[in-house]
Symmetry: C2
Subunit: 108 residues, 2 copies
């Protein structure tokens, strides 16, 4: 299986494909094509998420930060559970492909 070709057409909306689903682990490919998160929307997830950009360009914003994180190929981030964030921008001229690994919150 190849994650970069063929790419689904994400022009009409973000496309999410589960690549691996196991107890306590989910790996997804997310393909965006210019879609930001809806205005005023913040992800507030119970799971932790390690995410990287495979292809493309995006700007991710953490609610407690004043500026976007600018992300390109190879950039990765670990997002703690309930750390509110949104995608402020993805490149409208080409696909942005994310690899996301969701895993349970550490025990407190």
């Amino acid at each position: 299986m190849n994650l970069l070709a063929p790419l689904p057409d994400a022009g009409a909306g973000e496309r999410i494909d589960a690549l691996l689903t196991r107890p306590g682990l989910r790996i997804e490919r997310i393909v965006s094509h210019g879609q930001p998160s809806p205005p005023g929307f913040w992800y507030d997830q119970s799971e932790a998420e390690w995410v990287m950009v495979l292809v493309g360009a995006a700007r991710l914003r953490f609610q407690e930060e004043s500026e976007d994180r600018v992300l390109g190929p190879g950039d990765c981030l670990d997002i703690a559970p309930h750390r509110r964030h949104r995608v402020d921008w993805t490149d409208p001229s080409a696909a942005t492909v994310w690899l996301a690994v969701f895993y349970p919150c550490d025990p407190p």
Copy 2:
């Protein structure tokens, strides 16, 4: 953090960096530069491994198969625990960068 730049010099040996270590989950970046697995060596891992090639070119062999799997950017594989495999070849002219997600074997 960026996984593609700068890359460590793997000319003298494969380089492995742990990107995330959590109970039941380990994400690693592996950089190869022409190194195959040692002759006759087979990985025989107690963990499952989901792996993808980010950059470069490699040939991976499962012991029970008669031919190598030819892998390039975006190619991914899920390797079950104890499924014996080896890396028969990586591109000697440039770095091959792997992303590997290790996770526990499913309960039987």
